[in-house]
């Protein structure tokens, strides 16, 4: 069964049409890349799916249910998690606390003042597992704000993963990174995808990552969908080459 179905999504900011009539279907377990030049409307598209913005027109179906008007925090509860183009973490808290907050939020403990032994151990185990998975164990007690850009990104992805999502939305996970960090993040995404049975939609500029990870690619330009297909289709698509691959690189 289809996990995410986006139907004719449009977003207007005043007279500017940031996203125009875009549709997309994501199957369980799929990795989908969304590419396009700056200002194409990719982030706006994500913001509508995750509930940060309300669409001007169009619908978003998750698990077959219309969630177009469901508030963001509620979308998290039904299995959607996201990261941001500019890393959003809790900079003055430790890596461990960042993850613990995510785990506790996901478990619905946010109103608890006293946790029983069992719950505490469960939270602890989940946090340790996330640290292990991400390779951040040795930096667990450092403040996230003091880590390298790549490690902060990793921490953010792990916070999203702590929510046990079925759909993970990653907005330019390798933005502003060097080659090694980019490669590490790609490896992490691959690993998480394999272990957690996730669907992933990622916005990405680095074409090596896109062609390496994605099952299917959607190309946006000036708010419109320019093309959609397998990496092979996209590589061969002339319109895409002209609008994007040729120029942006």
């Amino acid at each position: 069964m289809t996990l995410l179905k986006v139907e004719n999504l449009t977003k207007r900011f005043g007279s500017l049409i940031a996203v125009a009539d875009v549709s997309m279907v994501v199957e369980p377990g799929e990795i989908r890349a969304v590419i396009g030049p700056n200002g194409a409307g990719k982030t706006t598209f994500f913001n509508m799916i995750s509930g940060f913005l309300t669409p001007s027109t169009g619908r978003i179906l998750f698990d077959g249910k219309d969630i177009s008007r469901v508030p963001a925090s509620q979308r998290v509860k039904i299995g959607m998690a996201r990261t941001f183009q500019i890393t959003e973490v809790f900079p003055e808290l430790t890596v461990r606390d960042n993850l613990q907050i995510a785990v506790e939020a996901s478990a619905g403990y946010g109103l608890s003042v006293i946790l029983n032994e069992e719950a505490r151990e469960e939270v602890h185990a989940d946090v340790s597992e996330l640290l292990e998975l991400s390779g951040l164990t040795d930096r667990a007690d450092r403040l996230v704000g003091e880590l390298s850009h790549g490690d902060q990104r990793t921490a953010e992805i792990m916070m999203a993963l702590a929510l046990k999502p079925r759909l993970l939305l990653l907005d330019e996970p390798t933005a502003g990174m060097g080659d090694q960090e980019t490669f590490d993040i790609a490896k992490l995404i691959r690993k998480l995808h394999r272990q957690q049975n996730l669907s992933i939609v990622l916005i990405e500029h680095d074409m090596r990552i896109v062609f390496n990870l994605a099952d299917r690619i959607m190309v946006l330009a000036e708010g419109r969908m320019l093309a959609e297909g397998t990496p092979k289709d996209i590589a061969a698509n002339e319109a895409v080459q002209k609008a994007y691959l040729g120029t942006a690189g």
Binding site: A72, S73, V76, I101, S106, G110, V113, L115
Partner: protein
């Protein structure tokens, strides 16, 4: 944690409590026990404000409203209702907390300076009510003709007329209140508040209902500030509208920033500095407020994390 680590971690708290508990012993020589009570009560108010400011990241400039409601609640209870100090504290706390709970939903959508402005506006409403409603509150002259009453514990009666006895009552209230706040902050609930302080957007996309949490934090914070208000009225056997005035809110903010918003005990240190400076300077110059202001500016410039924040940094490195 190494032994040494936990030692440096707990030593300041232990020393702090020893100082507080023994305070009447060494301060009484100068006859300043009430000054100690003031430090502790205003310290509690500043710590309560800091629950919202330092640990949730929301700036209120209207906490005096709930401080004042606590004070008037206690004073009016003793004046009109019953000669019971315990009841006075309960009523004052109840009124302040309840008012905050009701006002909360009207303001929690606001952020930053807008939130601060609207908290001032609500505070000033209470100020003018107390100011105008002469027949009940005594208006500008304040609420007089009442005193704190002995507390009857069944097996013993504590005569609170004695400043030292009242200081210890204050300290017990302070200990219970701060223990509860510390417990809240160290819990999953408290961590979700830190999350909001650190990054509201991230918190929201972890599924944390941000506005609802701010409402809870606001209510808790105002609740403890109204306890402090009730104790403040009992300390002075007097309340006047200045307890509700926005400048009183400003004093709490100054104390929190002076001592260090990011540390749990910082605002208590801020209160001690403020109260002692005020006491020392106001007997020498009518311009004491500008001197306190100068100290404030210097601390903000050179120790942006406050006095305790700075000490914490030093000992951490």
């Amino acid at each position: 944690m190494t032994n040494n680590g936990s030692l440096t971690r707990y030593a300041p708290s232990v020393i702090g409590w020893i100082v507080l508990v023994s305070l009447p012993e060494w301060i009484n020589a100068v006859g300043y026990t009430d000054l100690g009570s003031r430090v502790v009560i205003l310290g509690l108010a500043a710590m309560a404000l800091n629950f919202l400011l330092g640990h949730t990241g929301v700036l209120s400039f209207g906490h005096a409203a709930y401080f004042g409601l606590g004070a008037y609640g206690a004073g009016l209870t003793l004046r009109y209702l019953a000669p019971s100090t315990g009841l006075a504290i309960l009523v004052g706390t109840g009124i302040g907390t309840f008012a905050a709970m009701l006002i909360g939903p009207l303001i929690i959508r606001l952020r930053g300076v807008y939130f601060a402005m609207v908290t001032i506006a609500f505070g000033q409403i209470f100020y003018f009510i107390a100011f105008r409603w002469n027949t009940v509150t005594g208006g500008d002259d304040g609420l007089t003709n009442w005193t704190r009453q002995p507390i009857n514990l069944g097996f013993a009666t504590i005569d609170l007329k004695d400043p030292v006895a009242f200081y210890y009552l204050t300290l017990v209230v302070f200990a219970v209140a701060t223990a509860i706040m510390a417990k809240l902050l160290a819990s999953p609930f408290g961590r979700s508040l830190l999350a909001i302080r650190e990054n509201e957007r991230r918190a929201l996309f972890l599924g944390i209902p941000v506005n609802l949490r701010i409402w809870l934090s606001w209510t808790v914070s105002c609740g403890f500030v109204s306890i402090a208000g009730a104790m403040y009225a009992l300390l002075n056997n007097f309340v006047d509208p200045r307890a509700l005035h926005w400048s009183q809110s400003g004093t709490f903010v100054i104390m929190a920033v002076l001592g260090g918003m990011r540390s749990f005990w910082g605002p208590l240190i801020g209160s001690a500095i403020y109260v002692v400076l005020q006491d020392y300077l106001s007997s020498r110059t009518s311009n004491w407020m500008s001197l306190v202001g100068l100290v404030f500016v210097l601390v903000v410039l050179f120790f942006p994390r406050g006095v305790l924040g700075m000490l914490g940094r030093r000992s951490a490195t």
